[in-house]
């Protein structure tokens, strides 16, 4: 098997890509996609550590399954918020949505 640090490097790279997307994209939906990338990076880490460190009990995979559920909830609420914003402001660009800004 490939050593554990390769999985960790892939996960770190995916997380950095996702974080860059959150910081740099203008479209709110693209930010949502980037958040999904970051959640996936966390999931790869969870499962990789489970496999290499403690595969005798299933806890690592169960935790990753919880992350799936939370990600689904996050995506549903995020999409609903974006649609609501689009209906009210006719835009999904985050710099145009500044009604909470002083």
């Amino acid at each position: 098997m490939v050593p554990l640090w390769m999985y960790l490097v892939v996960s770190a790279a995916l997380f950095c890509i996702g974080a860059f997307g959150v910081l740099a994209r203008r479209n709110a939906i693209a930010i949502l996609l980037s958040i999904e990338l970051m959640l996936n990076a966390a999931n790869i880490n969870l499962v990789a550590f489970w496999r290499y460190m403690n595969p005798t009990v299933i806890n690592g995979q169960v935790f990753a399954a919880f992350v799936f559920a939370v990600a689904a909830a996050e995506a549903a609420v995020g999409v609903a918020l974006i649609l609501s914003i689009y209906r009210n402001r006719q835009t999904v660009m985050v710099e145009d949505v500044n009604i909470l800004k002083w």
Binding site: P3, G18, F20, G21, A24, A30, L37, P55, A65, V79
Partner: protein, 183 residues
């Protein structure tokens, strides 16, 4: 490390994951970005298979690619007027790229054996450096996950809580996205 079929599959799936992820954040067309997200998620599912997590791989394909990505595609099509925009990154993207490169470099130093020589301090000393020392998985993981979700000594309470969270989030999503203003 000899080049086993597992290593080859790992590199292919890693390339799919990272390449898809990179395309997600750089594609100007948001619709293409969502399709590349599907590719990236599929690569992650392959990594799960390599890590002996077939249930998570199946859930990844079914829930992430089949539900979440499709949900996002619907959102994109409902806001389609803005799909073909030319400027997809804001003004602070060079700073963001620099910060993420620095973060990735630090993570590389901490996580890899290469960084131990440079840092002079072995941060990843407790991690196994050789993949072949990992214990074998001698049970069926899908059944164990089912048992863990349904037994009292396992995760039945967190399972119920996350079910409640998902239900309330979906109800909240319906309320937020409703057409009429009378809430």
């Amino acid at each position: 490390m000899e080049l086993t079929w597992q290593a080859i599959a790992f590199f292919i799936f890693s390339a799919l994951t990272l390449g898809g992820g990179f395309a997600v954040v750089t594609q100007r067309n948001i619709f293409h970005a969502a399709l590349f997200l599907m590719l990236s998620l599929f690569g992650t599912a392959g990594l799960f298979v390599l890590l002996i997590a077939p249930f998570l791989a199946a859930v990844q394909v079914l829930v992430y690619i089949g539900a979440i990505a499709i949900l996002v595609l619907f959102a994109i099509m409902l806001t389609r007027r803005l799909m073909g925009l030319t400027i997809s990154l804001n003004q602070q993207w060079p700073a963001a790229a620099l910060a993420m490169l620095v973060l990735f470099g630090v993570l590389l130093l901490v996580l890899t054996p290469v960084g131990d020589d440079i840092l002079g301090q072995n941060w990843s000393a407790n991690l196994p450096t050789d993949g072949d020392t990992a214990p074998e998985v001698t049970y069926i993981t899908v059944r164990e996950i089912g048992v863990a979700f349904s037994t009292q000594n396992g995760f039945v309470l967190p399972f119920e809580i996350v079910s409640l969270l998902l239900t309330s989030a979906l109800i909240g999503a319906i309320v937020v996205a409703r057409e009429d203003e009378a809430i």
